[in-house]
């Protein structure tokens, strides 16, 4: 069956701009109301939801951090008891890593990647909807358990035997392990969508060497998710099996091994750092190019550095285990590989500096956050080189030095670029500008507050203060510094408060942004702000790496896509030559139903192994409903 023996279908070549937009909106729109909200598969609506939810979890995790700082501000404080404190630091870490950092980066990609590659929706949009619901369910599971005083209390990496059946009584560790399953299923789904969107849905002409750097970074990140997350799913599943049906994976008296947990966890856990950091790198490259008003210096080395970081990420995990007594040769290897990762990181830093050097930098808020990132991340990188050395690491292991180091890397390396990215892309997402004044205040408070909070922790660590203690004695020399840190944390929180106020205020009454307020070069700026439900009136045809700079006056586009069904261009992997005008699925309630069925099965399986069998039946039914053809024009071929 081809088009030839059918009556002519309406295509975008037949209509003027206004009529075309009306018809496309008819085909692609999400109806208003609750039903529309529950059934939508629009990547922009789901991406926005994902971002907002992740920031809500950021705020909640921040409140937990403040509670800890209140407790630690003075010795022998009685604000929080030891059991609640264990839950709080476990919640803070798990929440920030699994419910904020990874999801928010993927969420940015869910919103931006389809726009940046010039297509109309993400690949597998229903899977995308499913992913969000599963993520939300996992987050609710963790926070509801906290509200019921039964939150996990075993640390965010849940080491056995503490989390095993012998010491981890009750269901707390199971709730942690199953929250992992929820968030990893959600993350893996988005990773698959990103890989396929980037490989197959790029605008005609966007060959591999014309892909925007943020998209490259998300592609490498998606592969990291695909290769690394199965390790944590295997780890958390075997932990639940040990706890529920009496397997012995982590029981040394029956041939199991506690270190096996650490290997599996960190085989995921170290790539996880790069799953969070690489998207930030992509954001930085994008923002620096735009505000230096020139193409980024060293596109190829930057792409190579992304890929090299992604590969090296899998050879580093043992550096989290230097004090468990591994063979010396192994430790030396992992010291070397840990230091080797400084090479691609250095290449990136120098490419960015060269871009700034050769351009005319404009110091808008996104750029301030990027400069803050460079300073903070370099400090975090320096302490990283320090703890990569086994003798040094042995001294500071499990102290506040490590707490300081990873906050510098994660907050400096990922949250600063992310906040810059929010200021940068907010006009596209909402159609309105954020306030420059409030933005500068937010940056100043966050940058100063962050450094004042976390830099002293290096010293506390060198003075021997262990992490994860709920209080300390007055004889210890830590009280003054802790009080200082706690006050600084208030400055940091104030900065975030200003940021949130700015977001809410600007959503309502920010200055109207227009298509391309920053004069940027990538395709998401070639459509209106916020973009219409169909993203682009006609699919762009790309002839350069920075399409909007090489042709600022007009957009070259492809014509001939149908308007009576959701249709987009599928193109070849390397050259992005058009191959088909493929359909894209319509809105559907089935992803939500499938997510509900999956949620029931996963939570039930904490309590009974039979849940895996009986709970799978509704999942099978909902998936069949999801994929069963509905005789829509999208099913034609």
């Amino acid at each position: 069956m081809t088009n030839d023996n059918k009556p002519a279908q309406p295509t975008d070549l037949m209509f003027g701009d206004d009529e075309l937009e009306r018809r496309l909106a008819q085909t692609w729109r999400t109806p208003a109301g609750v039903w529309g909200a529950l059934t939508t598969v629009d990547h922009k609506i789901i991406g926005r939801r994902y971002i907002v939810t992740a920031f809500v979890f950021l705020a909640l995790g921040g409140l937990l951090a403040l509670a800890m700082r209140l407790q630690l501000a003075q010795p022998e404080a009685r604000f929080i008891g030891p059991d609640r404190y264990n839950q709080i630091f476990t919640m803070h870490g798990s929440n920030m890593m699994f419910l904020f950092a990874v999801p928010v980066m993927e969420a940015m990609a869910v919103y931006l990647v389809p726009l940046m590659v010039g297509t109309r929706n993400i690949a597998f949009p229903r899977l995308n909807a499913f992913s969000y619901w599963i993520y939300l369910a996992g987050g609710l599971l963790l926070w509801i358990s906290f509200a019921l005083d039964t939150a996990p209390d075993v640390g965010w990496f849940a080491y056995v035997p503490l989390s095993g059946p012998q010491y981890g009584a009750g269901k707390r560790a199971d709730l942690w392990a199953q929250m992992i399953t929820f968030t990893e299923v959600a993350a893996l789904a988005v990773a698959v969508e990103i890989v396929v969107t980037v490989f197959k849905q790029r605008a005609p002409g966007m060959s591999l060497d014309r892909i925007p750097l943020f998209v490259w970074s998300m592609l490498v990140t998606a592969f990291l998710v695909i290769m690394a997350m199965p390790a944590i799913m295997l780890a958390s599943s075997t932990l639940i099996l040990d706890r529920l049906v009496g397997t012995h994976f982590y029981n040394p008296t029956e041939g199991g091994d506690a270190l096996l947990w650490q290997h599996l966890f960190w085989f995921f856990g170290h790539p996880e750092v790069y799953i969070i950091f690489l998207p930030a790198v992509g954001m930085v490259s994008t923002i620096i190019a735009t505000f230096s008003r020139r193409p980024v210096f060293g596109y190829l080395p930057l792409v190579m550095a992304l890929i090299a970081t992604g590969l090296l990420a899998f050879g580093l995990w043992v550096h989290h285990m230097f004090v468990v007594g591994l063979p010396k040769l192994g430790e030396s290897f992992f010291t070397a590989s840990s230091m080797a990762i400084a090479i691609p990181a250095g290449i990136q830093i120098f490419c960015w500096l060269a871009t700034l050097w050769g351009g005319q930098p404009v110091l808008k808020t996104p750029m301030l956050f990027v400069l803050g990132f460079i300073v903070t991340f370099v400090i975090g990188g320096l302490t990283g080189v320090m703890v990569a050395s086994v003798p040094f690491d042995t001294q500071v292991h499990d102290t506040y030095f490590v707490v300081a180091h990873f906050h510098y890397v994660l907050v400096g390396g990922a949250v600063f670029p992310l906040l810059g990215a929010i200021y940068y892309w907010f006009p596209k997402i909402s159609g309105r500008m954020m306030s420059e004044t409030l933005g500068r205040w937010a940056f100043a408070l966050i940058f100063a507050g962050f450094n004042l909070t976390f830099f002293p922790m290096h010293i506390l660590g060198l003075e021997g203060m262990p992490r994860r203690i709920y209080t300390y004695q007055p004889e210890m020399p830590w009280a003054g510094m802790n009080m200082f840190v706690s006050f600084s944390a208030l400055i940091l929180s104030l900065g975030f408060l200003v940021f949130f106020v700015d977001v809410i205020r600007s959503t309502r009454s920010g200055q109207i942004a227009g298509e391309n307020p920053w004069g940027a070069s990538t395709l998401e700026w070639a459509t209106s702000s916020p973009p219409p439900c169909f993203n682009f009136r006609r699919i762009p045809v790309v002839g350069a790496r920075d399409p909007l700079w090489s042709q600022p006056e007009e957009l070259t586009v492809a014509g001939g896509l149908r308007t009576d069904r959701r249709e987009l261009i599928v193109s070849s992997v390397v050259e992005a030559q058009p191959e088909a005008s493929e359909s894209s699925p319509r809105n559907s309630i089935w992803p939500l139903l499938a997510a509900l069925a999956t949620t029931v099965m996963l939570i039930w399986s904490i309590f009974s192994p039979w849940a895996v069998i009986w709970g799978s039946i509704p999942i099978g039914i909902t998936l069949t409903g999801w994929f069963w053809p509905k005789q829509t024009p999208e099913d034609e071929s």
């Binding site: 396929v196 075997t238 029956e254 599996l264 586009v557 492809a558 088909a580 071929s637």
Partner: protein
Amino acid sequence: MKERVVLDVSRLPPHGMGRASPTWWGTCAFMLIEGSGFALAIAVYFYLMSLAPHWPIDAPAPGLVPGTTLTAILLASVVPNILLSRWARQRDLRKVRIGLIVMSVFGAVPLILRGFEFAVLNIRWDDNAYGSIIWTMLGLHTTHIVTDLIDTLVLTGLMFSKHADNPRRFGDVEDNAMYWNFVVVAWIPLYACIYWVPRL
């Protein structure tokens, strides 16, 4: 921004087949995820083995008959599976229907044998870590057979329905066939680990 049409895509096929299909790539990505899972399970197997003073731990090696028969059947199933994939590419509905019925049988029979496999492992999952990992490996692979069998049964139903005569369905059949090949290939190293490594 002003638009200039420089490319006409109205003659493109309305559905991508094979590597022009996003579903094909999505299936590959899921195989990569699950392949990583299998590889890690095998790594855990050898890790535990490296710690144990003797392997298997406190149990005779598993009985060979059901597992080897199942392996032979899985390998044999590749032939009709490849034929089915070819018929789907040729969009020969009659042969595809026959092929799907054959592959449903090839999906169901291993499940029966799998029951016997668990019975001759000679160890329970809660006896020791060796028992835990081989039950997990076998269980993990069984979920893949079940998943693909259900997928095949649903597809068979579809191909006997009014929705059948559509290139999109034939693409689904090809992707499902590819996934079955993955289920077979993934089994080979698991089979070697479960049945032959304890006999080394």
